[in-house]
């Protein structure tokens, strides 16, 4: 099987944009930027995969990028959409279908929390009408249970958010670029205690794309190609605590993030302790905390010491969400996982500007998690 490398990246900044700018147009721009970064043209792409949750059918993009006849797969897997798009594009190269593939994700969401339909998740109307169908309630309740079980303080939620906005301040492409103190975050409007408004990511707009190549061709296309050492995706198992669940069994099961992370490290032949820069799903600041442990980057409960010592900042031993993560970029659902990958690629290539991790990282990790219980992870390594 062919090894796969990332040879070009393109990001349409996340945030709030002109009402007339469609998700699809942002997707096209991200594709063009990624193609230019790789120094190839759309006609060179032999396989494409696109993801969007609410902004149209991604394969429509061929109408503006060029009608080359390229095979194009559409993906719609909630918050894990872009991770699944990347895995699908990489597999086309591994299977020998093409030497050069493109993965793109885009979305343009309405303001405010996501609204969901009970029937889409197999629930009766009562579940929505009585006020239980609210994603942020789940985030708050999983956080509270996790902090309680592992003896962590609520203030840790503000510490994570403050770090996210400090990273956003250093990232020209971030949406929220103003640093906030822990006290400002703690005192902000309460949405679902223990979460205040700045501890929750907002739905936003944006797009991200990457160009993938057979690793043995990558050096011709890119000065510092990044090897996609492994990518893995998993769905939930019995007993995992998930959003929109009217019941749980008393026997706790682990989340799909645990399975996806174990699988990706095994496939890459590396362990979580090898990771020098990580991107974790931080839909709320508590999610960053428990995802650190679910992906194996630290033990349950060890987050307090790591975060107190600023080890998860770009200057620390285990930098997490160096571009500000979902908290500072918001979440265009279809693009979010590729934003994570792009940040790790820039870090491994030494192109991350003011937020560059100082000691030239060689191993990176990304993790997305989405409803109704799905996770996709990647391990990325310096190819040179």
């Amino acid at each position: 099987m062919s090894e796969v490398a990332i040879v070009g990246v393109g990001l349409h900044p996340f945030g709030r944009h002109d009402a007339a700018l469609t998700g699809m147009a942002m997707g096209a721009q991200a594709c063009r930027l990624a193609l230019a970064d790789a120094g190839v043209s759309w006609a060179d792409i032999g396989y494409a995969v696109g993801g969007s949750n609410v902004s149209g059918k991604p394969d429509t993009l061929v109408g503006v990028l060029g009608l080359t006849g390229v095979p194009f797969v559409n993906v719609r897997n909630g918050c894990a959409t872009a991770g699944v798009a990347l895995a699908t594009a990489a597999n086309a190269i591994r299977a020998g279908e093409t030497d050069l593939a493109l993965a793109v994700g885009f979305d343009k969401h309405a303001r405010g929390a996501f609204a969901a339909s009970p029937a889409d998740y197999g629930h009766g109307d009562w579940y929505g009408e009585t006020g239980l169908m609210v994603t942020t309630q789940f985030f708050a309740m999983k956080d509270r249970r996790y902090l309680h079980t592992h003896g962590l303080k609520d203030r840790l939620l503000a510490q994570v958010a403050a770090k996210a906005f400090r990273c956003g301040e250093l990232n020209p492409a971030a949406w929220r670029r103003t640093a906030l103190s822990e006290d400002e975050i703690m005192r902000a409007r309460v949405i679902n205690p223990p979460l205040t408004q700045y501890m929750l990511c907002s739905p936003s707009e944006g797009a991200a794309a990457v160009v993938l190549a057979r690793a043995d061709r990558a050096a011709d296309l890119c000065e510092r190609p990044v090897r996609l050492a492994a990518v893995a995706k998993r769905t939930r198992r019995f007993g995992s605590f998930e959003v929109f669940a009217p019941w749980l069994p008393p026997e706790a099961g682990h989340s799909p993030s645990v399975d996806a992370a174990r699988a990706v490290f095994a496939a890459a032949g590396l362990s979580p302790s090898d990771v020098q820069v990580a991107q974790l799903q931080d839909t709320d600041s508590g999610a960053e905390i428990y995802h650190m442990a679910e992906t194996g980057l630290c033990e349950d409960g060890a987050q307090q010491a790591l975060i107190d010592l600023n080890e998860t900042a770009p200057t620390g031993r285990l930098p997490v969400n160096t571009d500000g993560g979902c908290l500072a970029n918001g979440e265009p659902v279809g693009a979010s996982g590729l934003r994570q990958v792009i940040e790790v690629v820039l870090q491994l290539q030494g192109r991350a500007g003011a937020r560059q991790v100082a000691r030239a990282p060689r191993v990176g990790f990304t993790h997305v998690y989405g409803a109704p219980g799905i996770s996709a992870c990647t391990v990325l390594t310096s190819a040179t």
């Binding site: 405010g112 929390a113 609204a115 969901a116 339909s117 009970p118 009766g124 109307d125 009562w126 929505g128 009408e129 009585t130 006020g131 239980l132 169908m133 609210v134 309630q137 708050a140 309740m141 999983k142 509270r144 249970r145 309680h148 409007r189 309460v190 949405i191 679902n192 205690p193 223990p194 979460l195 019995f238 669940a245 009217p246 019941w247 749980l248 069994p249 008393p250």
Partner: protein, 133 residues
């Protein structure tokens, strides 16, 4: 009184929730289901769930949710939590002062009036409240 969804209850007076138990593996679900998420069994019997338990986790819905939430004329923040009934942990609205909520506290089932039904009788759902016992 009219249940917001008749499938939720085995009785309204006294209030009791209905679930199901898998004949093959014993897994209890809420609401009642036709297939077992654990063992894929399809022989599930409808059962009455315990009306007492302990608070497993909780939050407060401090701002008015979007639809499909059916908002009352004046929105007031409400508690939400998971209550451990022993063989199943059930998600529920919580009534009472959130200042007193604490993981592990004793809870009991109660009815939650929602809105007037077509004939004026109240439509109800279920909630848990702190229990003194």
């Amino acid at each position: 009184m009219i249940a917001v969804d008749p499938g939720l209850f085995s009785s309204l007076d006294p209030p009791r929730l209905a679930g199901s138990r898998c004949a093959a593996c014993g897994t209890v679900t809420f609401p009642a289901a036709s297939g077992c998420a654990k063992c894929a069994g399809t022989d599930l019997a409808r059962i009455e769930l315990a009306d007492r338990g302990t608070l497993w986790t909780w939050t407060v819905q401090a701002i008015e949710p979007k639809a499909p939430y059916r908002a009352p004329p004046a929105f007031a923040p409400f508690g939400v939590g998971y209550v451990d009934l022993g063989d199943v942990i059930v998600e529920s609205r919580l009534t009472g002062d959130p200042a007193g909520f604490e993981i592990g506290m004793a809870m009991r089932l109660t009815l939650l009036p929602l809105w007037p039904g077509p004939d004026g009788a109240p439509v109800v759902s279920y909630a848990f409240e702190a229990s003194d016992e």
